[in-house]
C-alpha cells in the first residue's frame, strides 16, 4: 500500500500534473471546436436541404463531401482552388524566407549601417493590415482591365502592365510575402544570432570559401528556423482571404478560402467548413513534415547557442550599395504605404492632392455634416467611441499577451520535460492547431460553445473574458513556440541540482526557469500582443457595444467609404504597437525574434 502510494507520488511530478491539466483544457478549447467543425460537414443545414433530395434539416449526409471531391464540378469547386491555394502558400513562404532570411543575415551578421532602424522597421509590414499592400499594388500597377484612374506605373512610363502582372497569383504572392516576411526576418535572425562563431572560423581555417561556409555551415544551422518560418507562413497562406479575393477576382483566380466564404455567405456551412477542414489537414501535413525533418535536429542549434559571438562579416565596398538597397526596400514596402495612409487622413476630399485640401478635420475636427465627407462624426482623437474601442483593444492585447506568455512557459515546460512521450507530442501539436483554424470559423464555434453554461463553465456570452479566451487560444501557438525554445535551452541539470538541495517546483520556476530566460518569455508575448490589435474576423461575432475593439468599430466607417477614419485607426495602432515594441525592448531586452522560438 505504502509503495503503491509512493509510486503514485513519484509519478505526480509537476510536469505530469501540468500535462494532464493542459491536455484537458486544450482538449476542450481545441479538439472540441475541431470536432464540431468536422461534424458540421456531415449535417444538412437549412438552405442546403433544397439541393439534397429528400433531406431534412439536421439529417446526416455525405453530400457535402461528395460534392466537393467527387462531383462533376469537383475540379471547379475544389481541386482548382486547392491548386491555386498551394501555389500561393508555397510561393509566399519561399519568398518570405528569401526576403526575411537575406534581411536577417544582413542585420545580424554583417556590418551594414543603420541596423537598429532596419530591425525596427522590418516588423511594421506585419502590423499593417495585409490589404494596404494589395491596395498599393493595384494603385501602382493596375491596367485598363479594371478601369478607373490609370495606374501610377503606366502613367509614368506609358507601358501598360500585362494582366498576369497586375492581377492574380503573381501579385497575391508578392504582396502576401511582403506582409509575412517579418516572420522569416525574426526567426532566422534569432537563429543566426545563436550560431557559434567558432564553427565558421574553423571552416574558414580549413580553407572554405564564403559561399561554402554559408552553404555547409550557416544554412544547416538555421534549418530549424527556416522550417518554422515555412510552417508559419505556409499555414497563413492556406487560410488568407482578403488579398486573394481582391487581387484574384479581376482575372478570376480563386482559392480555398473563397470556397469557405462563398458557402458561409450562401448559408451552406456544411460545404464551407469542408474547405476549412481541408486547410487544417494541409497545415497538419506541413506540421508533420516539420516534425519529421527537423524534430531530431532542433536541439543541436541550441547546444552551441552559448558560444562566442560571431564576428561581423565586413561587406567592404558592398556596404553602402546594400544599405541603399535595403533602405529602398523599406521605403517601398513600409514608408510609402504608411505615408499613403497618413495622406488619406489629412485630405478633406479624397484624391485631391492640393494644399487647400489639407485638413486635420478627421483627427481633431468637430462633428459636421457639411465639412469634407460630411460624416457627422467628431475627429478620431475626439471621438469617445473610437477612443474607448482603442482602449479595449489595448487592454485585451495586454491581458492576452500576459496569459499566453504564462501559459507558453508552462506548456513549454510540460512539452520539454515530458519529451519523448506521447503526451509531449500531443500537447505540442494541439497547441499549434488553433493557428491552422480559419478565424471566421473559430469565432462562430466559440460563440456557440460559450453562449450557454456548460458543466462548470458559466455562460461567458458578451463578456470581455470570452474575447480573452478566444484570443488566448488563437495566439497560444506563438507563445508555446517561445516557451518550448526557452525551456529547451535550459539544461535539466540546473533543475536537478535545485531538486538535490530541496527546492520545490515553485521555487525552481521562480528562481531558475523564469529569470534565466526572462527576455525570451517577454518576447513570446509580443506576437500575441500585435496580433490581437489587428484581429477582426475572430472577434466580430463576440463583441458587444461595451466590448467593441478598434477593428470592429472601424467597420462602420469602412462601410460608408469614410477611409480617413479607417486609415487613421490603422495608423494609431501602428504607432502604439511599434511604440510598445521599442519600449519593451528597452525595458526587458526582448526581441520578437526570440518570441518565435528562433
Amino acid at each position: 500500500m505504502r509503495t503503491a502510494f509512493n509510486r503514485f507520488r513519484l509519478k505526480m511530478t509537476p510536469q505530469r500534473v501540468l500535462s494532464v491539466l493542459f491536455l484537458v483544457v486544450l482538449g476542450y478549447l481545441v479538439i472540441v471546436p475541431l470536432f464540431l467543425m468536422l461534424r458540421e460537414t456531415f449535417i444538412v443545414h437549412p438552405l442546403e436541404r433544397f439541393q439534397i433530395p429528400g433531406a431534412k434539416i439536421g439529417d446526416w449526409t455525405w453530400a457535402h463531401w461528395q460534392r466537393n471531391f467527387l462531383s462533376d464540378n469537383a475540379y471547379a469547386f475544389f481541386y482548382k482552388p486547392l491548386l491555386n491555394t498551394l501555389k500561393i502558400a508555397l510561393g509566399l513562404s519561399l519568398l518570405a524566407l528569401v526576403i526575411g532570411g537575406a534581411l536577417a543575415w544582413l542585420v545580424v551578421r554583417t556590418d551594414l549601417p543603420m541596423k537598429g532602424f532596419i530591425a525596427n522597421a522590418a516588423i511594421i509590414p506585419y502590423i499593417m493590415p495585409s490589404w494596404t499592400l494589395a491596395l498599393a499594388w493595384i494603385t501602382l500597377f493596375k491596367n485598363q482591365r479594371i478601369g478607373g484612374d490609370q495606374g501610377i506605373f503606366t502613367a509614368l512610363t506609358g507601358i501598360a502592365t500585362p494582366d498576369w502582372f497586375a492581377y492574380g497569383l503573381f501579385p497575391i504572392i508578392i504582396t502576401l510575402s511582403l506582409h509575412y516576411f517579418p516572420f522569416g526576418f525574426m526567426l532566422i535572425g534569432g537563429a543566426l544570432r545563436n550560431i557559434d562563431a567558432q564553427l565558421e572560423e574553423s571552416a574558414e581555417l580549413l580553407g572554405a570559401s564564403r559561399p561554402t561556409i554559408l552553404r555547409r555551415v550557416v544554412i544547416p544551422l538555421v534549418l530549424p528556423a527556416i522550417f518554422s518560418t515555412f510552417l508559419l507562413t505556409f499555414s497563413r497562406g492556406l487560410g488568407t482571404f482578403g488579398t486573394p479575393a481582391f487581387l484574384g477576382g479581376p482575372v478570376r483566380e480563386f482559392v480555398l478560402s473563397t470556397s469557405l466564404y462563398a458557402n458561409l455567405i450562401g448559408q451552406r456551412p456544411g460545404i464551407g467548413y469542408l474547405a476549412a477542414v481541408v486547410m487544417i489537414l494541409l497545415g497538419v501535413l506541413v506540421l508533420y513534415m516539420d516534425h519529421k525533418i527537423i524534430g531530431t535536429r532542433r536541439s543541436f542549434v541550441t547546444i552551441s547557442g552559448k558560444g562566442a559571438r560571431a564576428g561581423l562579416v565586413a561587406l567592404g565596398r558592398w556596404r553602402w550599395p546594400l544599405a541603399v538597397l535595403v533602405l529602398g526596400f523599406i521605403v517601398a514596402v513600409i514608408v510609402v504605404p504608411l505615408c499613403a495612409l497618413v495622406i488619406d487622413t489629412v485630405m478633406l476630399r479624397p484624391g485631391i492632392y492640393a494644399w487647400e485640401n489639407f485638413t486635420l478635420h478627421y483627427w481633431i475636427g468637430d462633428a459636421s455634416l457639411t465639412v469634407g465627407l460630411g460624416t457627422g462624426e467628431p475627429g478620431i482623437l475626439r471621438n469617445s467611441q473610437l477612443m474607448s474601442a482603442l482602449r479595449n483593444t489595448m487592454v485585451l492585447a495586454v491581458v492576452v499577451a500576459l496569459i499566453t506568455g504564462i501559459l507558453g512557459i508552462l506548456v513549454g515546460y510540460a512539452i520539454v520535460r515530458m519529451r519523448g512521450s506521447w503526451v509531449s507530442q500531443a500537447l505540442d501539436q494541439m497547441s499549434f492547431m488553433p493557428y491552422l483554424m480559419p478565424s471566421i470559423a473559430l469565432g462562430a464555434i466559440f460563440l456557440a460553445m460559450f453562449a450557454v453554461p456548460r458543466g462548470p463553465i458559466p455562460s461567458l456570452h458578451g463578456t470581455f473574458w470570452l474575447l480573452v479566451i478566444v484570443c488566448t487560444v488563437s495566439y497560444l501557438p506563438y507563445a508555446v513556440k517561445a516557451g518550448v525554445s526557452a525551456i529547451r535551452q535550459i539544461g535539466p541539470e540546473l533543475e536537478e541540482a535545485a531538486v538535490m538541495v530541496g527546492a520545490s517546483w515553485w521555487t525552481r520556476m521562480r528562481r531558475i526557469l523564469i529569470p534565466v530566460q526572462k527576455s525570451t518569455y517577454f518576447s513570446g508575448m509580443l506576437l500575441p500582443f500585435i496580433s490581437v490589435t489587428r484581429e477582426l474576423s475572430l472577434l466580430i461575432l463576440l463583441v458587444t457595444p461595451a466590448t467593441q475593439v478598434a477593428t470592429t468599430i472601424t467597420l462602420r466607417y469602412t462601410d460608408r467609404g469614410w477611409y480617413p477614419y479607417t486609415n487613421g485607426m490603422v495608423l494609431l495602432l501602428v504607432v502604439i504597437v511599434v511604440g510598445s515594441t521599442i519600449l519593451s525592448r528597452r525595458l526587458m531586452g526582448t526581441s520578437i525574434a526570440k518570441g518565435l522560438g528562433g
Partner: protein, 370 residues
Amino acid sequence: MDFMRMLRGVAALAVTAGLVTAGGMAVAEDWAQIEADAKTEGALLVYSTTSRTAKAAEAFSADTGIAVEVVRLGEQDLIQRAYQEAAAGVRDVDMIVAEDWVAARELLSNTGYFVNYVPPTARELFPERHQDPLVLGFINRVFGYNTDKHPDADPFVSVWDLTTEDYRGRVMIRDVAITGEHQNAFTEWVRRSDELAADYEARFGKPLEMTEANAGLEFIKRFLQNDAIIMTSDTKISEAIGAPGQDNPPYGMFYVYSKHRDVPLQDLRLKDSRQISPTLGYYYPIVLQLSANAEHPNAAKMFMEYLGTLEGFAPWADSPGVYSPNPNQVPFDGDMPFAWWEERMWGYDLDFAAENRGIVLDTWLKYAQR
C-alpha cells in the same frame, strides 16, 4: 448530443409563441401603453447591417430618452450571431435590421427566434406587401456605363448584350460568391427564365440555345465565359466605370445605385441604364424584426415605429438608391420614387430564392473559376 432535436423543439415552441403574439397584436394594441412601458425598459440593443441605424438611434434617443446601442455587423455575421445566440437562449438583442432575408428567414424567422411586428405608421401607410416582413427600406442595384464614352445614348438594350463580343472582358460585378443578395437576385432570373429567353430572341432575332437547364443559368455561364471582371467592392466598381479620361472604360452590373451619391463629389462620368431589358437591375429589402425573446420589446417597437416615419428614415434619405415604403417619403433629388423602380426592376420570390440559390451559387462557382 441531441442538440439538433432540442433546437427543433425550442424552435417549434417559439414559433407557436410567436404566432400567438402576432395574432394578439393584430387584434388590439394599446400604443400609449407600449410607449409607457418602453420608458421603463431601459437600453435597447440592435444588430444592424447598415451603419446609418446608429445615426437614427441617436436622434431617437434624443427624442424619447430611450437609449439604443447599435452593433454594426455584415449580413451573414448578423444572421449567424443572432441565430447562435437565440439558439443558446441568450437574450441580448431586441431587434435586428437585416439584409439577405432569404437566408435570415430560414435561420431567424422560420425557427421562431424573431417575429414580425407592424407598428402604427407602417400599418397605416406602408403597402401591405411591405409589412411582413416589415421593410425599413429598399436598396436597388443597377447596370452602369461611362458617359464620356457614351455621351448621347444609353448603350444597353438587353442584358444579353453583356454576353456579346462587344463587352468581352469589360463588365464588372461584385463577386456573386460573396454577395448573398446577388445570389437571390439571380434566382429570379431562373424563375423568370422564359421572359429572359424571350428577351434574347427579341434582341437577336433567334431563339436562345442553351446548355444549362434554363435561361437564368445560361446567362451566368455566358456572362462569365465572356471574361467578366469580378470585384470585391461596389465603390471600386462605380469609381472604375465613372473615372474621367478613360479610352476604354468598363461597365458595371448590379452595383448599388446609392454610389451615384458620389458622382458630383468625385466628378464621375457615371450613369445607370434606364432602358436595359428585361430588368434595370434588382431591388431588395432591408428588414426589421423583433426578437421573440426581447427583454425590451416595447422600446424595440417604438424604435421600429420611429424608423417608419420620415424623421426616423432621414439618415437613409440623404442619398439616392434607398427607398422607404412610406409613401410620403420624397425621393432624393434626381432619383425616382420606388414605385417607378419597382415597375422596371425585378425583386425576387423568397421561397423560390431559398430553394434555388444553391444552384445559382454552384453555377457561378463552376464558371467563375477559369
